[in-house]
Point group: C2
Chain length 347, copies 2
């Protein structure tokens, strides 16, 4: 047994030679795409070990025209929810032998499309504001045989794009009901979007539900403005604004957890206790929601399962070009400490 001199690159045919088989057989041993006798498998593996052989996946990709790579495009890496989802996707992808390119939001999708094509990614997950992505870009990807899945189908006409939607509308509905159960009726909504933003269903769902459950036609809402940031600071700001309007409220819900965290801070700063004086609810059930003070009542999308499903659908479409799947995730209510029975039952 010879000492490995320098780590000279070694290729398939070196292994073949040492094992006394053909190059093709080496390939087949590694790809398991056809039967190879146990004896040869052993010899090949031994030789590969000996030479510290590493098959070149890029060369394989060139031939197969598929790279075992997916891309995840997000417009907000500061969003804990998005990170949790990406984490789950990467985990699933890894388990299936796929690598995951992470693509941040500096550039918009359109500028990434050509790169995705040139790098032959097999699938793309778009976790972005629908308003920011162009139908043409998606079609271009699809035309090239790249599977695409999105968090919100809104605005996308191509029947080939998959979608796994987060059901924010249902989430809001559950929250309004939760508040009603606690005896609240003066419920305010802190939305980072206003009516002019057509893709968000939360504000609309809030209106519908307040109407449905309380016959309230004009519930109090405080809205942000472009660029529609749903951050802690924005939540803080909108909560202050709510207080300054003098509107009555005993419960507040927000576009997401981050905003709820900011809103709680604003209330606490102003001497209002949560949940004694105001109940506050968020949305998304990010990790921080468990550990805030008080711990946040919110809506969970089960981000881990969600991410796994995203990859699952992508994989299905990659393997069997044509599946396509359009689903919606059912969220669930997570009650913690930030919401409580309404004290002032009379008005």
């Amino acid at each position: 047994m010879e000492e490995n001199k320098r780590s000279e690159q070694c290729c398939r045919d070196d292994v073949a030679r040492l094992a006394g088989v053909s190059g093709a057989t080496v390939s087949y041993v590694f790809s398991r795409k056809r039967y190879v006798s146990p004896e040869l498998v052993r010899r090949v593996m031994r030789a590969a070990e000996e030479l510290d052989y590493h098959p070149d996946l890029l060369a394989a990709a060139v031939r197969r025209k598929s790279s075992d790579t997916i891309a995840v495009l997000t417009d907000d890496m500061a969003s804990p929810l998005q990170i949790e989802i990406i984490r789950a996707i990467q985990e699933s992808a890894m388990n299936s032998g796929y690598f995951t390119h992470i693509c941040g939001g500096v550039k918009n999708l359109d500028s990434y499309v050509d790169d995705f094509i040139c790098r032959k990614v097999d699938g793309v997950f778009l976790s972005v504001d629908p308003a920011k992505v162009n139908n043409k870009s998606i079609e271009k990807l699809l035309d090239r045989g790249i599977s695409v899945i999105i968090t919100s189908l809104r605005g996308f006409s191509d029947p080939r794009v998959c979608g796994l939607e987060l059901d924010f509308g249902a989430g809001v509905s559950m929250l309004v009901e939760h508040f009603k159960d606690l005896g609240h009726s003066k419920i305010a909504f802190l939305s980072c979007f206003d009516d002019s933003y057509e893709y968000d269903k939360r504000l609309k769902s809030f209106g519908n539900n307040m109407q449905r459950l309380f016959g309230e036609a004009n519930p109090v809402t405080v809205c942000g403005s472009p660029p529609w940031e749903s951050t802690i600071d924005r939540g803080y700001e909108l909560a202050k604004k709510l207080m300054s309007t003098g509107a009555e409220f005993t419960a507040v819900m927000c576009t997401n957890d981050l905003m709820a965290l900011g809103a709680m801070r604003a209330f606490q700063e102003s001497g209002l206790k949560v949940p004694e004086d105001v109940s506050v609810a968020g949305m998304d059930d990010i990790l921080f929601a468990r550990s805030s003070y008080p711990a946040l009542t919110t809506i969970s999308h089960r981000s881990l399962e969600y991410g796994h499903r995203i990859f699952g659908i992508l994989k299905q479409n990659i393997d069997n070009k044509s599946v396509v799947s359009r689903e919606r995730i059912s969220p669930s209510l997570v009650v913690r400490e930030s919401t409580a029975v309404c004290k002032s039952v009379n008005k």
Copy 2:
């Protein structure tokens, strides 16, 4: 001008034919690796446009033996600091035409090494607990010509690995001084690590600085246990533990911001006001530190610059195999609302 029938894949030679030049010339136009006359450049570009040509970067990678791809390995995607750094790295990488593989912590480095080699990544950033990575794995990467940069050089002997260290020791030092300036002397440290964990400098630095500034030989510390989680919940837990010991303290510092957030929650729950009754400081200056209640005094590593520099060093080593760089980032103190002058100046 013909209508694009179906989006048939088109390759370099199709473009060459349409432009009336050789395949080589098309390559050179795109790679800019040798002079091509303006006239031909124009013809090639026109033809490429017409055919919607996308050069196959994987094929190029096979020949060049380099994929214009880096990998980022993190053992904790739930850490906001790590995410901020990854975001910065990806941004830099993108600007240089590199794609970024994100690799989460399910598996340890060792199990990723072969994949990195097979996929011919050009460089790897390791943002992991040094205890979890094996010298052999790193050498294997390096032997294959893959550049490696780490957040902490501790325990790595190979002179070829780069390092850009976060200077936690200096951070702790600045914090102790900050507390001293505010009149505190009863300072406690909530550490997710204990003395048995050799890679963390914070606890040691705390001891040194308490000795140096106060002549205090046995400052109060409360430590976590394996698996050394520095989460909000762990901070909460350790703060409770601190209070239960009956030890005197007017200021508390923590392994990181997350733990500080948890600690504040614990104090607040127990009726201690921050910073009136206890000053609390964190470490890392994550996004949330700005928006907590009260806003957290902490140490900033300037994660954006840090990430950019990480990629810069990696790139240098990729381009000019042999540079290597070992640096340390100087942190800075960020004073916010969670620390204040010590009330009980006596005792």
